[in-house]
């Protein structure tokens, strides 16, 4: 009989998650969401943005091609799997 252990673990996990969630709620972690968006930028360096060269532009096209190839492979697998599911 193993269910009691699993249910105990799930219940504990649920309770701990709730405790943390309500701590966050009470602590104001869900307030000031607009300011929170800027937190990583507050130590921003004043460096200039590197100019994008044509080579980098070609790199983007190559990246897009590879990404589309990966998507096509995944789509092909899905179609193939569904077509053969009722064999």
């Amino acid at each position: 009989m193993y269910f009691p252990y699993f249910i105990t673990y799930m219940a504990l996990g649920f309770v701990i998650s709730l405790v943390v969630f309500f701590w966050a709620l009470k602590n104001g972690q869900f307030k000031e969401q607009q300011r929170a968006r800027f937190l990583p930028l507050e130590d921003e360096r004043k460096a200039s943005v590197e100019k994008v060269s044509n080579i980098k532009r070609y790199e983007i096209y190559a990246l897009m091609f590879l990404a589309l190839a990966g998507l096509a492979a995944s789509a092909a697998v899905l179609v193939f799997s569904l077509l053969n599911a009722n064999i």
Partner: protein
Amino acid sequence: MTGKSQPSSQNYLTAKGFCLTSAFWFVVATSMGLLGATELMAPDLTENIGWLVFGRIRPIHVNLVLFGFVTPGLLSAAFYYVPRLLRTELYSEKLGFITVLAWNVTLVFAVVSLASGYSQGREYAEMIWPVDILVVLAFSLVFVNLIMTVSRRKEPILYVSIWYACAAVVLTAVTFALGNVIWRPNSGSLVGIPDAILLWFYGHNVFGLLLTPLSAGVAYYVIPKACRAPLYSHTLSLFGFWSLLVVYTHIGTHHLLQVPVPTWLKVISIVDSVAMVIPVMAFLINIWYTAKGKLGEIHADIGAKFVFTGTIMYFFVSIQGSMMALPDVQRVTHFNNWVVAHAHVGVLGFAGMIALGGLYYILPRITGKPLYSRFLADFQYWLILIGVIGFTVVLTIVGLIQGNAWLNGEIVYRVLPEIHMYYIARASLGLIIFSSAILGLYNILRSIFFNPGEIS
């Protein structure tokens, strides 16, 4: 260089230590992967060399990629961004350094014990009990350092990356202890079906509750910084965080759909696997909208370039994962190399790319000097990208051949010659990734120790 509220002096010893750990074990892990792929192509290669047989090489490769390369890479970035986002200093660099040492000692024990044939024989949970304890201890040390830093923060609001980093460490320490059944040192397992359920609860969560949140934490920090733009929505990011916790924890049983586990558990795992689209799209929409119109800035920063590519891979691997949980799809795709392709897109393409991105983003900041070679980093980027996509295509084809053969009732020895040429391609791609790991190690070593660049 820094804002008024930033810590004035830090040596980033912990971040550097995890950075070197990640770069070094990436080389070892990929060498093991390459050797394993070569053995699949030429099974007699290491005949009679016990500690190099495939059954020992494979778990070494998997565990080193998880705990040697990707996790330390992501932790390195976390040990940089956590104090900065909290406007304080790391609780203890000394404790961090001890953690790095403990982490590496654990990995050495893991490699030696697995190579010597000491294994608990459960996928992703092969390491023996003493090593399991060391892993839990190492995660506990990381947690103490992070949570004490949080408690001493000067910034009241916890940015979403902090949530992800802390949750990943706590959840993994607990999940690892449970999944490895550490209360039974001799076997490290339960008996029968309950053990399979517990194992895959751990097996999938080591990705979903360790690599995914740590990667999301890095992406949420690096992308706004590189774009010099605020996060699209912090509320959406917190929604993604909490929904990840709710949904991801239940999906491990989708590995056991063809096993007599309770039906209700299978239904939950399938439903939540499909529901993963919620936290995944919450994350991706947020990151991609933050970067909207700023691809030039992304490409100008090699760290951000790695991270952004990792998010694209996350899209692929998540869509795959949700689809693979559907029983009709799984009849073809399970128990063959299609799953191996999926795992490589997830661990290397998504989490590995973001780990490397995090490293390359923080390196100039923790050393105070520019990266030793942007060219080498770019070259490594393309090698890994070609390697991962190549793996995906090749192993997907092999998986379909194997899955179809399985459905048709064909016997294994008739299928093996059909897939042999793909195994050659797989080993070749493994060589590309191994080469990229060596380039990365060289670049990182030169950036930290022998960097001729001027101090900024």
